[in-house]
């Protein structure tokens, strides 16, 4: 019993959504009832979201991870493992496959420390990098280390961080700002949320170091209002850091002063763009403006401003503690260090991973991600969200590297990686992303505002079975024009999902336009529902559930669907206990 050092319960958004708070309470009650005095602590996300809720038991033999934990599982874990010293099978999770190939720099503390405890962060060398920088390094030496490390912006654009800092550092001004961009807007990306929820002090330390390097005294964290838990933990971290003299006036007794405020975003994807983000902090509509002047010379309130993404800043303390060389030892020639990816979609192990740059996509999907759900064939990997593209299965050996991915038409992006299988329609995916960017376009540039709308209308027509000759060519031509004639990253990248899918999945577009068929069985207007008479047991459930009474019993003891009346809602297919309802596209049996 006394061998148990601590029990960790994963309480990030994903854990909480999976019921981790209830599990945690049950664990507390069970331990109290057993009179067992074992410390329980909340931790952030370890990344194995597919196993939530997760409970780690740490004893002298190391860490045992239990996943998909239920209340009954807690009873057994307490009785057998915590009180009895024996491992409990059935819920134990092998972590080697998932964690073994990862290199954790940004996520080194996520899922291990209590994010609301400054002491735990400091026990793992937290704020050591800031203290060393303040006491032993000149600001330009800090900039130099960042340059040597080769760190590039992790928000998507990949601009060299050290160079960016040097621009703001050389500006003469009485007031400068550091902004942490936590407006994580890409659907399918949640790494910034996990870092803020799991290790908020790391981001604050990175901001303070950046501020020291460029000579700023004020900082803002611009974080999505949709991330209430991240905001709460960040507030707590700022208060604790102030109390410990790690933020505020005369940090650690030195002459350096720096303080941080939180600005909650109000929901606008375009605010991920730095000039739009600045407009939003100033209280205006978040519309980008022309650059130059760049924020480094004229940013917030017209002052020199340095903006970095959460993940970029989270790398900074590690780089200062271990040196630029140690960081640059990971990765490829042009892409150094690691990158965090949010793995989701039709993959077995969805979650958050951190891998050295240069790892082939195949290893991420099949080794770390465990392969495709139900062992279906991989069709494509969507990277970079609405700004990115779809990499087909044939290019799955492409290494994760800024330049190599750009050559495929996709981008590293902020790190969303959505795995798609053969039941995903690529035309539908392109339509989905265009729908997103079209609605999020701020409306300033004509090509972005009107062009994305026209592209979306064309895609909607194709998905509805009304595609025409020339649609494909029009999409590609308009796509290139939008890229060339838009002011900011949103418009410049919005056509990417369409351009990559028309290039790699042309056949699928042709099937929609010419054959009026959706090979993946997704686009409803192109589908026909059909009951296989040999499988149908004539139970009548589908007929009772059908909202438009389009199903009736036929002579011969089976049911048939009236295709004229059918609205293709799919209810019959969902309810049929025998799997007799088939979804067909293209050639349909009479």
């Amino acid at each position: 019993m006394s061998r148990i050092k601590e029990i960790r319960v994963g309480l990030a958004t994903c854990g909480i959504a999976a019921g981790a708070q209830r599990i945690g309470r049950h664990l507390q009650e069970k331990l109290a009832a057993a009179n067992a005095d074992v410390p329980i602590k909340q931790v952030g996300c370890i990344g194995m979201c597919y196993n939530e809720p997760i409970v780690d038991v740490v004893d002298e033999n190391g860490t045992t991870t239990y996943g998909r934990v239920t209340e009954e599982a807690i009873d057994r874990i307490v009785d057998r493992h915590i009180l009895g010293g024996a491992l409990v099978d059935g819920f134990r999770v092998e972590t080697d496959g998932f964690l073994g190939d990862q290199v954790r720099i940004v996520l080194e503390n996520c899922g291990i420390i209590d994010p609301e405890s400054l002491d735990e962060y400091r026990a793992r060398d937290g704020y050591v990098a800031l203290e060393n920088a303040l006491r032993t390094m000149a600001p330009d030496e800090v900039v130099e280390v960042m340059k040597e490390s080769g760190l590039r912006g992790r928000g998507g654009a990949g601009f060299p961080t050290g160079l960016k800092w040097s621009f703001a550092a050389r500006e003469e001004s009485t007031e400068k700002y550091v902004i942490c961009n936590a407006d994580e807007g890409d659907p399918g990306a949640f790494m910034d949320r996990s870092v803020l929820e799991g290790d908020p002090h790391r981001v604050l330390e990175g901001m303070a170091i950046a501020a020291y390097a460029i000579g700023a005294t004020h900082g803002y964290v611009y974080v999505r209002a949709e991330y209430p838990l991240a905001i709460r933990r960040l507030k707590r971290a700022i208060a604790d850091a102030r109390a410990a003299q790690l933020l505020g006036d005369h940090i650690l007794g030195t002459s350096f002063s720096f303080d941080v405020l939180i600005k909650a975003g109000a929901g606008a994807f375009v605010c991920g763009e730095e000039t739009a983000l600045i407009a939003s902090i100033e209280g205006r509509r978040g519309m980008p403006r022309k650059r130059p002047p760049y924020p480094a010379s004229s940013g917030l309130w017209g002052r020199p401003t340095n903006i970095n993404n959460v993940e970029t800043l989270a790398n900074v303390p590690w780089i200062l503690r271990h040196g630029a060389e140690a960081f640059a030892a990971y990765g490829t020639e042009s892409s150094k260090g690691t990158k965090v990816f949010a793995l989701a979609g039709k993959i077995k192990h969805s979650g958050l991973i951190e891998i050295p740059m240069g790892m082939p996509i195949r290893r991420i999907v099949f080794d770390i991600g465990g392969g495709i759900q139900d062992d279906r064939p991989l069709k494509a990997v969507q990277m970079g969200g609405p700004s990115g593209g779809c990499i087909p299965a044939s290019l799955v050996d492409t290494p994760v590297d800024y330049e190599a991915l750009k050559a495929t038409g996709a981008i590293v992006g902020s790190g969303g990686m959505i795995v798609l299988d053969d039941s995903t329609c690529m035309v539908d995916v392109a339509r989905y992303f265009l729908d997103f960017t079209q609605k999020e376009s701020c409306g300033k540039c004509t090509f972005c505002r009107v062009g994305t709308k026209r592209m979306l209308e064309t895609l909607e027509r194709i998905c509805a079975g009304d595609g025409r000759d020339g649609d494909l060519e029009a999409l590609v031509s308009l796509g290139h024009k939008i890229k060339e004639n838009s002011l900011c990253g949103l418009g410049q990248t919005a056509p990417n999902p369409v351009l990559t899918t028309t290039e790699y999945f042309r056949d699928e577009y042709v099937a929609h336009i010419v054959d009026k068929a959706c090979p993946a069985g997704v686009c409803k207007p192109l589908l026909q529902f059909h009951i296989d008479p040999d499988v149908c047991k004539n139970c009548g459930l589908c007929a009772r559930e059908c909202p438009v009474s389009a199903i009736a019993e036929a002579d011969g003891g089976y049911h048939v669907i009236d295709r004229e009346a059918c609205v293709k809602c799919g209810r019959c297919e969902q309810v049929c206990p025998f799997g007799a309802v088939e979804i067909l596209s293209g050639k349909v049996p009479a």
Binding site: T13, C14, I16, A17, A18, C49, Y50, E52, E184, G185, D186, P187, G188, A189, F190, R193, A225, E226, Y227, P228, K263, A264, G265, A266, G267, A268, F269, S280, I281, E282, G283, R284, R285, G286, A342, L343, A344, G345, K346, S350, G351, Q382, G385, G416, I418, L420, T424, V429, Y432, F433, F436, C442, P547, C569, G570, R571, Q574
Partner: protein, 171 residues
């Protein structure tokens, strides 16, 4: 700037009682500059549930921004709603992972079950249906959030059961 600020009367901005009504109002502690427009709108929506015409006027008076520019901000950002929401807000995640894992059929069922479209409120004022771009719970896709509670791996049937629980609690 300084002069204007003095001439503006200090009027109540924030509603003390929740959910609107003719409430007593207290001044906001936020600085009286246009930079406070967004945080003030957020505070008012938190207290009153939505941004009324009157709220736009109050924000304009407090910050010195024109009412039209406050309205411009309120309509630019998706967080702000200009109509009173129902007791519970259902946010259906339309993130990429949810999209490919079938949130579409879940949303279809919700629209049919509640008899309203996205952006509308049921006649009994119980539910408002909204769609959001990504809740960031992609590993639990498809996901739906009701008020502050997130539900993962939902199906059309499980959604209907979940809503039934909210109705029970209400009656």
């Amino acid at each position: 700037m300084g002069l204007c600020e003095e001439r503006r009367p200090v009027l109540g901005v924030l509603s003390r009682s929740d959910k609107g009504g003719q409430a007593e109002r207290e001044p906001s502690s936020l600085p009286r500059t246009p930079a406070s427009v967004i945080p003030l709108l957020q505070q008012i929506q938190e207290a009153e549930g939505f941004i009324s015409e009157d709220a736009v006027e109050r924000v304009a008076r407090h910050t010195g921004a024109s009412a039209s520019s406050v309205y411009g901000v309120a309509t630019f950002y998706s967080q702000f709603r200009l109509r009173r929401p129902g007791t519970h807000t259902i946010r259906v995640c339309e993130g990429t992972a949810c999209h490919v894992l079938g949130i579409g059929v879940v949303l279809d069922r919700l629209i049919e079950h509640l008899g309203i479209n996205v952006g509308e409120t049921t006649a009994d004022g119980l539910f408002t249906l909204e769609s959001v771009r990504c809740l960031g719970c992609c590993s639990l896709a498809p996901a739906v959030m009701i008020d502050d509670e997130t539900y993962g791996r939902v199906t059309p049937d499980s959604m209907v059961e979940i809503l039934a629980k909210y109705r029970e609690d209400e009656s």
